[in-house]
Structures are given as structure tokens and as C-alpha cells.
Symmetry: C2
Subunit: 424 residues, 2 copies
């Protein structure tokens, strides 16, 4: 299978520039990038009409099936929202609900150009089923907080890991997901570190998301901040990804930098839940690999990397009073290549040999004119609705509002039914 994308404004995320050219995808791999293209027999030729061709977005942290709970308890204080609204409904969710919630998220991902996601929820069998059917790329987390059984931890983790034997690891990979330091004991965390080392598994965690978390950690652990506490448990000896990292001082960031840990920032969730603004500029200066996540629609409330990119840049600017901080090209790299690196995939760049996860952004809408400064437009003007094509692993899964594999209306009906049942 050979597909030619011609006449495209191709995004070079590494150098932060666009150039007019052509891309060939052979099976699931980018086999050619250039200003001309070789004569060949193509199975499909897509004229990009100078629209932007870029790597698909990597949403490096999401609780995807929470689409079911979109809008629940909006505008409540954080604790009332979580304990009075979200958790009681979550306790009613069946495995079948999780499947349909994941399906709705996938509709939203594909329409918004998100091609890879890191999943943090429970009932992973359902999540993996939905992801596999759709053709999405994902890293799926399991760990103490996804355990709904009385089995001992090592048995449970082994069973979970075995679940991934049936899937194509180039598309769906496992990771060890510890929800947070306040939902797991130090014993559980050390247990996970041991399992991670034994099975060469990467690890993810919510870290320093709120001031409460930081304050409680220092009180309970001899003054250790959350990163210092995790360091003492051997967490950072592993390949790690830390979500949020809103309340970190320079010493905390230095720990993450020293151990080559990855950070996933989730700005819309952090401001909507009033958690705070992450120190992105300081993270950059420490040389930390920063990815971007949506965190899921229960808190943010849409799976939209354009919204997140705008916020990563502008919140960084306002928080240090410098309009030149964290530039468009920086956040484009975070949303693609850095995300791919954090999750251990081989996508996120339009370079020969990389996996073909590609999207096309329409530039023929009023908010994208004039056509100078398209790189800046991508971050500060474009909307997720400008995505007109989404390809994952060489397969076109969404084009001009139509899904290749999904029955959108069926999914919508199921979701409305589930939500009605839950709120009865």
C-alpha cells in the first residue's frame, strides 16, 4: 500500500518550520519526504492543496472513558466535584460503559487529530478492545488504582500484563500506572517499582498536582516533597512519566531532570480545577522532556490539543510576565515528538522511517488567513475542527467528518443511554 500526500505545507517539528513538499507513506511507514517526488504507482494520491501536513498529536495523559461524565458537577469546588459527583457515578460504571466511553473518546480523538494517547482508567480489557477496533495508538496503564480485586499485587499486575500479549505492541503498549502518592502506600509503590524493573515496564504517576498533595506529603514524610519522596522509593530509577507537576520548585525539577523523567502538562484541567499553573519555562530550562495531555473531559472538558497548546504557551507567558516565553515551535514539539518520546513510540515527526501517524489541517478558513506565519497560526489561531484527515499507522481513520471504522450515531445513542441510567 503506497499513498502520496502531495502539495502540502509540511511541519518540521524539530526545526520549527513549514516547507512546501510531498510525503509518501508505504504501508505504515513514512518512506519519502521531499520537495519533488519519485514517479511511482500509488494506490492513493491525496492533494493537500497547501494545507498543513503534520504528525498526529500525542495526548500523553487521559482518563478517556470519562467522556461519559462530561459536564458532571461543573463549577463545583474540587473536593465536592470529585467526592460528591464523580466518584459516586464512577462506582456505578459497568465494563460495558467503559467500552462505550472509550469509543466516544476515540471519535473525539480522531476528529481532533489525536493519534496516540496514554490511558489511565480501569477495566483495561474494554479499553484495549475499543482501541484495537479503532486503530488508535496508545499506552495503557495498569496498577494499584486499577485493581478492583482482592488478589495480591504481584498476581494482579502479572494478570494485567498478560492481557497485552494478544495486542500488537507497536500500536498498544502497557505501562505501570500508579495513580498518586496519596492513593498508594509506600509498600505498594515499592512493589510497583520492583515489578517494573523485573518486566522492564515504564511507570507513570500524577505528581505534585495540587498544593494539598505537596503539603500533606511533606507533613507525612519528614519534610520530603513528592519528588523527593518518590526518589526515596526508587521510583525515578525507572523510565518514568509524571503528570501535571504544577507545584514544583527548582530542586524538585532538578530531581526529574537528573533522572531523565518525562513530564506531561495538562493546562486546561489545572486551571479549570483551580490547581495552579505549571512552571513550564523552568522545566524547559532544566532540559526536561515535556509532553502535553488533556487529562480527560471530566475536568477540562474536551479532548482538544489545540486548546492545550494555546494554554501551555500563553499561561507560561503570563506566569513569568514574558510574551516571548515558550514559543509556538516549542509547544508544537511538545504536542507531537516529545509526547511520542515520553510514551516510547516511533511517531511524532515527519521523517523517513517513522511510523505514519499524520494529520491534515485546513488553512482555507477565515481564521487561518493571511497565509504568512502559518506556524504561529497552528498554535494561536487553529481549532481542532480544522483537522480534515487523520491517519494512524498508515491507515486513514477519519476524513472530512467521516470515520472509517466507527458508527458515530450508535456510539452517541449508547452514551446518552448510559448517562441517563447513571443519573437516575
Amino acid at each position: 500500500m503506497k499513498i502520496l500526500f502531495k502539495n502540502a505545507n509540511i511541519l518540521d517539528v524539530e526545526n520549527g518550520k513549514l516547507f512546501l513538499g510531498n510525503v509518501i507513506v508505504t504501508d505504515n511507514i513514512i518512506s519519502f519526504v521531499g520537495t519533488t517526488y519519485p514517479n511511482d504507482n500509488f494506490d492513493e494520491v491525496i492533494d493537500c492543496k497547501q494545507n498543513i501536513l503534520m504528525p498526529g498529536f500525542v495526548d500523553a495523559h487521559c482518563h478517556s472513558p470519562m467522556t461519559i461524565l462530561r459536564g458532571v458537577g461543573a463549577d463545583l469546588p474540587l473536593k465536592d466535584w470529585l467526592f460528591d459527583k464523580i466518584i459516586p457515578l464512577e462506582n456505578k460504571l459497568t465494563p460495558n460503559d467503559i467500552y462505550w466511553g472509550e469509543k466516544l473518546a476515540i471519535l473525539e480523538y480522531l476528529a481532533a487529530g489525536i493519534t496516540t494517547v496514554e490511558e489511565c482508567y480501569f477495566d483495561n480489557e474494554q479499553i484495549i478492545k475499543a482501541l484495537s477496533e479503532s486503530g488508535m495508538r496508545a499506552r495503557v496503564g495498569f496498577g494499584p488504582s486499577t485493581r478492583k480485586t482482592n488478589k495480591d499485587m504481584q498476581t494482579f499486575l502479572t494478570e494485567q500484563l498478560n492481557m497485552f500479549q494478544k495486542v500488537d505492541h507497536k500500536q498498544i503498549k502497557p505501562c505501570l500506572y500508579i495513580h498518586s502518592i496519596y492513593t498508594s502506600t509506600s509498600d505498594e509503590i515499592e512493589n510497583c517499582v520492583y515489578f517494573s524493573a523485573k518486566n522492564n515496564l515504564p511507570m507513570s504517576i500524577h505528581l505534585s498536582e495540587t498544593l494539598d498533595e505537596v503539603g500533606n506529603c511533606t507533613v507525612q514524610n519528614d519534610g520530603l516533597t513528592p519528588p523527593q519522596y518518590l526518589e526515596s522509593l526508587g521510583f525515578f530509577d525507572r523510565n518514568t512519566l509524571c503528570y501535571h507537576c504544577v507545584h514544583m520548585d527548582k530542586d524538585d525539577l532538578q530531581i526529574l531532570a537528573d533522572y531523565n523523567s518525562n513530564i506531561c502538562t495538562c493546562p486546561s484541567s489545572n486551571i479549570k480545577l483551580a490547581s495552579g499553573i505549571a512552571p513550564i519555562y523552568a522545566m524547559q530550562n532544566k532540559g526536561i522532556n515535556i509532553a502535553i495531555g488533556t487529562d480527560g473531559v471530566a475536568s477540562n472538558n474536551s479532548l482538544d490539543m489545540f486548546k492545550e497548546m494555546f494554554l501551555v504557551s500563553t499561561l507560561a507567558k503570563v506566569s513569568i510576565s514574558d510574551a516571548s516565553a515558550v514559543k509556538a515551535q516549542d509547544v508544537l514539539k511538545m504536542a507531537t515528538k516529545n509526547g511520542s518520546k515520553a510514551l516510547g513510540f516511533d511517531c511524532g515527526e515527519i521523517v523517513v522511517g517513522k511510523t505514519a501517524d499524520l494529520i491534515i489541517i485546513d488553512i482555507h478558513k477565515p481564521h487561518m488567513y493571511p497565509h504568512s506565519d502559518l506556524l504561529s497560526h497552528l498554535v494561536y489561531s487553529a481549532k481542532s475542527s480544522d483537522v480534515v484527515l487523520t491517519m494512524i499507522n498508515g491507515r486513514i481513520l477519519y476524513k472530512d467528518g467521516v470515520y472509517t471504522n466507527e458508527d458515530a450515531q450508535l456510539i452517541y445513542n449508547k452514551i446518552n443511554e448510559i448517562r441517563e441510567r447513571l443519573t437516575k
Copy 2:
């Protein structure tokens, strides 16, 4: 002319709720709102398919023709951006450029459901021409900073005011626009206050946008903050609208409250230019009428009230660490009814007798499911691309991507030509 909108989720902005019902527009007025509807001969029946029918958005502060300069000097420090990039290009703009810049803004407004705008630029003859052709509702500002002649102030202001004699004042109104306290002398401001009183004209100004402005004002005016300084010049004795108001303490806000001044907040511009985060929660507590503006695409970089609504709410939440501050229903009112009040129009609400400025929001997209909590979805999930119909003054000007009065391709071509010429 009688149009029936049936089967709509109608937004009641005053009470912050949606209800299923029908709306009749007779000529340019909302003549009926109810859960049933009278038998009648309708010229057009629009089945809303349970989509949201709401008042059009009021963008209460914009430099619309700056669409031409979209993306110029992105990510530069504020002063370099303004003095090295924006102003040199602005000096090259011809009246014809202003006309086409305004036309592009109108395309963006109509597609995004913005039905009314407050204009602050120069070459108003061109702006009024474009607005009149399109059918937009607007308040257009003139004053010291739009004066490009050597004529004395009162003569210039009188000439400018006369320009509005030819237009329908229900659609396009004049206001006296003072750019700021740092671009006009106290004499000029007093001159404007005099002219405003004589001609019963409302007044608008950029106020306390940056810390620099506040600092310089106190140094130069015996310790007076910008609102205190304006109060001493009689500014607030008039009907006034203050843009931005980012750096105001409680005494400053009390001045605006005491004089019933209106505020227009522009959050995306304020964070992208690193100016700061406005104290919206404190403004609400003072009972001030708060409207929302985009400020124009040179600084923000798209004319999108959905982006602004999300930011007004979430920045307020994060800035006072309270996820329950400034709720969805509050910002929906700011973006519609409050804006209409600030500008002195009779729209911004779906109520019998009000002018028919209406938009339809599609709820049949993945990011709008499930269909519970639609009010929250409007602010936290919806995108400007969900607007499928825009009516202004009883006329449908945009429907399903098609403009009634505008030749979009012609406008795009002109804009690209102008920008190429400017940057040569």
C-alpha cells in the same frame, strides 16, 4: 417576514438554563418564545433538531482590521512586537487595506457566531462601509488616536460624528474612543469628555492593561492610579466602557462600580501578551457589568468568543484557587446580554421584543455528548466551529459554512495580496 425556529434547546441567559421550545422572528424582532407555537404562515421554518439556539455573541472590544496582521511578530516581547513589528506595518496600511481587513474579520465573526462588535481602529469610513454591507451590528469608536489629520480636535470629532448620519443607528452606532491615558494628554481627554457630554456619546478606553501603565500613571500624576486619574478628568461622569482592567485593586474597582462604568475583559490577549489576569471575581462582587472582548487577532490570534469564555471562567478559578468561581452561566451572560448592555443595544437575550440576533450551536458532535449538562458544554466543550447558523437583525447571514452576502474567496485573495505587499 416571519421565521420559525422549532425544536430548539433555547438558552435563557438571565436564568442560566436551557429549555426545549420554539422561537418566532418577525422581521428583525423576536416576536414569540414558547414550548408550543401558534399556527401561522411562516416564510421559513428551521428545524433546530434540538441544537442550541442562543443570542449571538457580543465582542465588546476589537481592533478588527488587524486580521491583516495575524501572526506578525508572534512570541516576541510585548514592546518589540508593538514597536518593531506591528506599528511599522500599520503605518503602511491604506484605507483599502482597512476595508479588506474588516471584511476578513466579518467572515470570522459570522462563522463564529459573533453578531455585534465594538470597533477601535482608524479609517472608520472603510470600517463602516464593510460593516454596513455585511449586516453586522457594531459600535464604532473615533477619537484622538484615530485622528490622522492636523485639524483641531472638536472639528475632527464633529466630522467623524457626521459620518454616522448616513447609517442605521440600530445597527451601527458611534462612540468616543480614547485609546488610553498614555497616548492622550489630559487636555485631549477633557476635550473628549466635553464633546461626549455635548453630543450624548458613550466613551471607551483601554484602562490599566499593563503594570507599566499603572506605574507610569502614578509617577506622573501625584500617585493617582489610572481610574483615579480618569475620575479627576470627569471621564466617569459619562456612560463609559473600560477595556482590559487587568491591574485594578479594590479601590479602583469601587470607582468603576460607583459610576456604573462597564468593563470589557479580554483574557486571551492578556495572557498571550503576558499582561496579567484580570480580577473577574472581584469585579463580579462589586456588581460591575462585565462584557467580553477578543481584542483582535494581532494579539490573541482569533476572533473566538468560545475561547474567551473558557478563559474568563478558568483563569478566574485558578487565580483565586476556587473551582466554583465564575460559573458557566455567568460567562454566557457576559458574552451576550452584558455585552449588549455595555454597548447600548437591544439584543443579547432570547426574549420577546428583543432584536433577533440569534445563533445555532450544533450539539451532534462527539465533544458535545452526552446531552446532559449542555449549559456547561457551551462554555467548557463547545468550539466556534459548532456554530451552524448566524442571524443578525432578523437576517440569516451565515448557514452551514455558506455566507449570504460575502465572497469569501475574493476576501482571502485580497488579504494574502495585502500581507505580501506589506512584508516586502
